[in-house]
């Protein structure tokens, strides 16, 4: 079983190996996807074993996996697989068009696989100090992905991300210290070596005041990585500037890893402090995030920022569900983690395709997606309804569970507020997306960069030459590139790549649909066991 746990974390490194060997994007991507598929297989096998046996402990408490870690491993490996599959056509197309150099492509996959491995490893450790080390390291690896394109905007986003997240995680380390300090009555000699299960089992002996401060600092610190408001400010920039498959990893894997860290602290806090204090903390941050997320979604603009604010909102929903507590609330929170991860991965991957096709990330620049690219448009529309909580997709089921948990707690104020905010989010999000998928595609020769500028500004030579060769009219006339209304050029080299781009979208949507209609008995057991861990 220990071998299985280690393999789960290490198999995504296949991408790093291929990148170091110097292969081209498609080859590295395939190796990455194969590694991720192997990791998913290991995670499922591990989960099956964990649901029947006591938690796995080893390596002096550094390795620890219970049903909760197994469930998060399943989520993160699924996202990694989908994002790796999506990287093959996306990064391949950027390599073909020369937007990314071969060095950048190798850099991308190296950091992608390091990022995945570090996140998976942080889900498998029982030592809260090592948890900090691995989460901070995953911040560094993913910051390199955000800054990959090397433009001023992406570097700025990467800077904002790395500095805010590092500060946040350092504060979480201070929180971790206070939690360990609260245990100094337990084990005088080396209280920092205490593994998490030991702390939980002896929670009754922890000093409450120190634990209270430690829990608050941990929620603020790891909450920065989760994107809980008001520490979310790095999130929209980083998600908008990263390559789309990397955005999917950030939104669907990294945020959940942060949430996992908070859950570990929550379990200890619940056991010692009772429900009231942790509940108040989580409900405050949760509702703040939902409000911020929903309000900023109303604004139109960059569609990747829209998805990012939706992530803020969903992380808020999960925090609120953890705050509602009880078996129902915890069950709903975990189910929401998985459903949101799948839906957001499909959204970000399809947004990558859209930005390759339309050469823009502004929602206003995209129309008629359904007629220009029916598969992508359809996937975007379906994933939109899935993430907004329409039946028959999984998110509907988990949000329903969360609202029920809220009503079960007594006061109807919180669940009603939650429902109202979900309504605002639904309206804001759907308004932008429907405008993108309906209507007629824009009239332009798709691949020419910034065609509008031709008549207004003197262009650099290379660009002007490219425009002149695609459109036979002389450069300098405003109508030069406005051709007849026709389908936008496919960004991919051949048919295989086009099909490859659709594969992860379809896989993700099918999984969401299945989760909405039927929760497999095994998954149900795991969710109940995980909820019992949190208490």
């Amino acid at each position: 079983m220990m071998a299985l746990a280690i393999l789960t974390a290490l198999t995504p490194l296949a991408g790093l190996a291929a990148a170091l060997a110097g292969a081209r994007a498609r080859v590295i991507g395939t190796a990455q996807a194969a590694g991720a598929a192997a990791a998913l297989g290991c995670a499922i096998a591990l989960l099956v074993t964990l649901s029947r046996r006591p938690p796995l402990e080893g390596l002096a408490g550094f390795l620890y996996a219970d049903a909760l870690s197994g469930f998060f491993l399943l989520t993160v490996t699924s996202v990694t697989l989908l994002a790796a599959l999506g990287s093959i056509p996306y990064i391949g197309a950027q390599e073909d068009s020369g937007e990314l150099s071969r060095f950048q492509v190798r850099l991308y996959f190296s950091f992608f696989s390091l990022f995945a491995t570090l996140m998976l490893a942080s889900l498998e450790t029982g030592n809260l100090g090592l948890l900090f080390v691995l989460i901070e390291a995953s911040t560094l690896a993913s910051a390199a992905l955000v800054g990959l394109e090397g433009r001023a905007r992406s570097l700025e986003a990467a800077w904002k991300y790395i500095i805010i997240s590092s500060l946040g995680v350092t504060i979480a380390l201070a929180g971790t210290l206070f939690v360990f300090y609260s245990a100094s009555a337990l084990h005088p000699a080396s209280n920092l070596a205490l593994p998490w299960p030991y702390l939980l089992a002896h929670a009754h002996a922890l000093a409450p005041q120190s634990l209270r401060l430690g829990f608050l600092l941990a929620v603020v610190g790891y909450g920065t990585k989760v994107g809980l408001a008001p520490m979310h400010t790095w999130l929209p920039d980083a998600h908008a500037e990263a390559p789309s498959p990397a955005s999917a990893m950030l939104s669907a894997a990294l945020l959940n890893t942060g949430m996992y860290a908070i859950i570990r602290f929550l379990a200890i806090a619940n056991a010692r402090l009772g429900g009231t204090y942790p509940r108040a903390v989580l409900l405050s941050f949760g509702f703040a995030s939902i409000v911020i997320g929903a309000l900023f979604m109303v604004r139109k603009g960059n569609f990747k920022r829209l998805f990012a604010y939706s992530s803020v909102e969903h992380m808020g929903i999960i925090a609120v569900a953890l705050g509602f507590g009880g078996i129902l609330g915890l069950y709903g929170a975990l189910l929401q983690v998985l459903n949101h991860a799948l839906a957001k991965t499909v959204l970000f991957l399809s947004s990558g395709d859209v930005s390759l096709r339309y050469r823009t990330r502004e929602a206003a620049g995209v129309t008629g997606l359904l007629s220009a690219a029916p598969v992508i448009g359809g996937a975007l529309l379906l994933a939109t309804f899935a993430v907004l909580g329409s039946p028959p997709f999984g998110v509907f089921l988990s949000e329903l569970t969360i609202v029920r948990a809220g009503f079960a707690r007594g006061s109807p104020v919180f669940p009603l507020l939650l429902l109202a905010l979900l309504g605002v989010a639904f309206f804001a999000f759907a308004r932008t997306i429907t405008a993108m998928v309906t209507g007629r595609p824009p009239v332009s020769a798709g691949r020419a960069p910034e065609p509008v500028l031709v008549g207004q500004l003197a262009m650099p030579d290379g660009q002007a030459a490219a425009v002149a060769s695609t459109a036979a009219a002389p450069a300098g006339s405003p109508t030069a590139v406005a051709g007849p209304a026709e389908a936008l050029a496919s960004p991919y080299r051949d048919r295989t790549a086009t099909v490859m781009a659709a594969v992860p979208l379809v896989l993700g949507l099918v999984a969401l649909l299945v989760l909405g209609l039927w929760i497999p008995a095994g998954l149900d057991t795991v969710l109940r066991q995980s909820a019992a861990v949190i208490g």
């Binding site: 090592l130 080390v133 390291a137 090397g150 001023a152 800077w159 790395i162 500060l167 504060i171 201070a174």
Partner: protein, 224 residues
């Protein structure tokens, strides 16, 4: 728990180091020259290494000795030297003009945060008369001052130094509050800091180059 009492020699030395570290954080907050930021950070790390050494003697811990040596080598020497050579000298950084508040305002805010740190960590949280009770408020204040420096300065290098000061504050709390993490974890923390500083240096250089190009382009557009 083996408490380090406040009146023991080690306790007094730790208390003193904590106070000096706090003063150096204030000095950083009050300064306007990039050279000084780096110098104050280096000095702070050297004092921190001394504090770790004191703690090592008091707890009879070899791991703390290794930690003190690592602190001196990495935070006290390597990072300041690298920051000075690669950032301050190569990018020709002199005066930091990008501040969102005046110096006096940020110093007053720093004083308020220090008082707040005492307010939060003092009452009943820590055993009375222990060295930790004296040092933890200081280290909390250092953390808050570092964060304040990151907020009021908009220049990337200043923010980087701010983060490193926060890190020092956490470390100061760690060596007095509790014994130590297992060595793997401590080594991991150091590795994270080094990798973080390296990646940040790459970003800072990239951003500065881009900004230089952008402003050069502006100059060309405005011509004639």
């Amino acid at each position: 728990m083996q408490y380090l009492s406040q009146s023991s020699t080690a306790g007094v030395l730790l208390d003193l180091s904590g106070a000096v570290i706090l003063l150096l954080a204030f000095a950083c907050l009050a300064s306007k020259l990039f050279n000084r930021y780096v110098a104050y950070y280096g000095a702070q790390s050297v004092v921190l290494a001394f504090a770790a050494g004191t703690s090592a003697v008091a707890f009879h811990s070899t791991e703390l000795w290794v930690l003190a040596a690592l602190t001196l080598a990495i935070k006290g020497i390597a990072i300041p030297v690298a920051a000075r050579r690669v950032l301050v000298a190569r990018l020709a950084l002199k005066r930091d003009a990008a501040m969102s508040t005046g110096l006096s305002t940020s110093l007053v805010a720093g004083g308020a945060l220090t008082a707040f740190a005492y307010l939060v960590t003092r009452p009943a949280l820590l055993p009375h008369g222990s060295a930790a009770a004296a040092v933890v408020p200081l280290s909390t204040a250092v953390i808050l001052l570092g964060a304040l420096a990151m907020v009021v300065r908009r220049h990337t290098v200043a923010q980087l130094i701010g983060w490193l000061i926060v890190e020092n504050g956490v470390f100061l709390g760690a060596i007095t509050l509790v014994a130590t993490f297992p060595f793997i974890v401590e080594a991991g923390i150091f590795l994270d800091i080094v990798a973080g500083v390296l990646i940040m240096i790459v970003f800072v250089s990239g951003l500065t180059r881009q900004l230089a190009q952008a402003s050069a382009a502006e100059l060309r557009e405005l011509r004639g």
